[in-house]
Amino acid sequence: MSNLVLRIEDITMQFGGVIAVDNLSLEINKNEIVSLIGPNGAGKTTAFNVVTGVYAPTNGAVYFKDKVITSNFPKGQMKKLYAGANKDKYTSTVKNTPDMITKLGMARTFQNIRLFKELTAFENVLIAKHMRAKANFLSASLRINHKEEKAMHEDTLKLLDILGLTDVKDEVAHSLPYGQQRHLEIARALATSPELLLLDEPAAGMNPQETDELAAFIYDLRKKFDLTIFVIEHHMDLVMDISDRIYVLDFGKLIATGTPQEIQNNQRVIDAYLGVPEDGE
């Protein structure tokens, strides 16, 4: 088996006349931490949503562990509107809904935390275990599956313990402090037993010290859960700290890729982030 976990091929996402992601290709190997960075509105989250099945791309394909999970080509009205490349390369349509993709072993967090607000931390994580439960509604109601249920509870407690959330397990999610909500969201994603974890701006709204802790935390996660991690991030410190490789997106286009050092010295990236002086000095 190849080492490749995720491969995005020629993804274009076009909303009407707006091209949010333009012909993006990238690869992520096993146990890597790869970051996707770019200024606001560069199309990072859109790319994420295509990978996780929220959007069907206008053109292109996504492979997870060598298996195609999303594939599309411009058709209908889009065919006339479509301005991107590789127009005729893809001819088959594969569409997996987000829940199917999660089942395959890809879990995500959200940019603006999306916990089950009125449920406890424990329930939040426990719900993510539902997908792997074998019981049907009858056997679950009549408690024929009590062994499985017990195992789910134990696994959840274990996971909360690893992520340091045991003390707050009976607290309602929306009453938790911000940092713990972030942790809880990661715990919930991990409860689906993923191979690839997608973090959408995990450091949003954190101060420098919390960001440092987060970096260590993400490193730790990879080791403990044998994960491959794909991060979208704004915080340069965090990205440079944790990434094995970085992809830079600007206006939907990939403008650079490489190790943190290479990216730091890349003129196009610096221009994209700091802007180019108008008189070209």
Partner: protein, 375 residues
């Protein structure tokens, strides 16, 4: 509270309720009003919990309850009316020969079959409604909130229109309705059927599927990202909710002894919605408590306001037929204004909460005594 004590308390409560039912059964003549109203309350509790399952726990604002109840009620009624009364009931256009033959065959079966046939009929009504729910769920469950409410409301009216249409005369007796439906043999029987239905729904809600329903209510996008198939789970909740609504509809037919399509108009759905809102959207025990309270006060306790009242020769105005509904509406307004989340909110009844309340009361009394000493 310890687990063993909780079990003992629950068993005691169940026995107490059973004893009350048996007492009412034995003294039916003396407590006729209590008997009837409580029986209706129990039936409403089943529908209210089933509506709460769909609306409160899964977050699907469905207003189709009356339609599903009608399906259950008509299936139950058609199967249960004894063959000897058939000609009296279908006196206008007669009954379809196939149904009559089936009934005669059913009645020729041994007596133990007769004994279980009411339960079987209720189950059958539920299954028919579940099938309908599965079919209309496919297009309708793609809609969200208000749109879903309107679509299900429409479905409920369609069911009513079909039942009362002249083309259905030989099956549902059209707009003349059905009567002479055999009733419940006892309060205990009503109670046990209701208890089994409610227990199943509560167990489902506490299982991993119930948690998935709640996840969908809280955040669909997140639920889907956690691997929960939205459509499958919404469909499941909708089907099970409709199944139990239909069972309750069958029970209502047995309770009322005679039904027609107007029994299942939109107002019935509103009555149930009211019970769910007062009890707390997302609380099964809240729905049960509120179903009993609302039915009791609407049908019985507030009757007082319907009769003319004179104090010392002075005739109090306003006290006349229909005034009770005014009082009832005022109480509703007050409840909704001051208990916005209903009696129970999203909480369930638990002995721990009762224990805490008791303790709080004790402390309050204790502190008052302490305060008195200081003075």
């Amino acid at each position: 509270m310890k687990k063993s004590r909780k079990v003992i308390a629950s068993v005691l409560l169940a026995l107490l309720i059973l004893a009350l039912f048996m007492f009412l059964d034995a003294n039916k003549a003396r407590y006729g009003m209590a008997y009837t109203v409580l029986q209706k309350g129990i039936i409403m509790a089943v529908v209210a919990v089933s509506m709460n399952l769909v609306t409160g726990f899964t977050g699907l604002f469905s207003l189709g309850q009356a339609g599903f109840m009608a399906i259950g009620a008509y299936v139950t009624a058609i199967f249960m009316i004894p063959a000897e009364h058939i000609q009296d009931v279908y006196y206008i256009s007669g009954i379809s020969p196939a149904i009559l033959e089936f009934k005669l065959w059913l009645e020729s079966l041994p007596s133990w079959v007769q004994a279980i046939s009411p339960y079987f009929t209720l189950l059958l009504g539920g299954l028919v409604a579940a099938l309908c729910a599965a079919l209309i769920g496919i297009p309708v469950l793609r809609l969200k909130s208000d749109y879903l409410a309107i679509a299900t409301l429409g479905f409920s009216e369609i069911v009513r229109a079909i039942i009362s249409s002249p083309q259905m005369d030989t099956i549902t007796n059209g707009s003349y309705g059905l009567k002479k439906i055999p009733g419940f043999s006892s309060m205990v029987q009503t109670g046990i059927i209701a208890a089994v239905c409610i227990a199943f729904m509560v167990l489902l809600l506490q299982s991993t599927y119930g948690r998935a329903f709640k996840a969908i209510r809280e955040d669909e996008t997140a639920a889907e990202a956690m691997g929960i198939n939205l459509f499958k789970h919404k469909q499941l909740s909708f089907i099970i909710g409709s199944f139990f609504s239909a069972v309750a509809g069958g029970m209502l037919a047995m309770f009322m002894r005679s039904i027609d399509s107007k029994t299942f108009s939109i107002t019935l759905t509103y009555d149930i919605l009211l019970i769910v809102v007062i009890g707390g959207i997302g609380s099964a025990t809240g729905s049960i408590i509120s179903a009993i309270l609302v039915t009791l006060s609407k049908e019985w306790w507030l009757r007082f306001f319907d009769n003319p009242l004179s104090i010392g020769g002075f005739k109090v105005p306003l006290f006349r037929t229909g005034f009770r509904m005014v009082i009832f509406s005022i109480i509703l307004l007050v409840v909704v204004l001051f208990y916005q989340r209903g009696i129970m909110g999203k909480n369930e009844f638990s002995w721990e909460r009762v224990g805490n309340r008791m303790k709080g009361l004790k402390d309050m009394i204790g502190s008052k005594k302490g305060g008195a000493k200081d003075v």
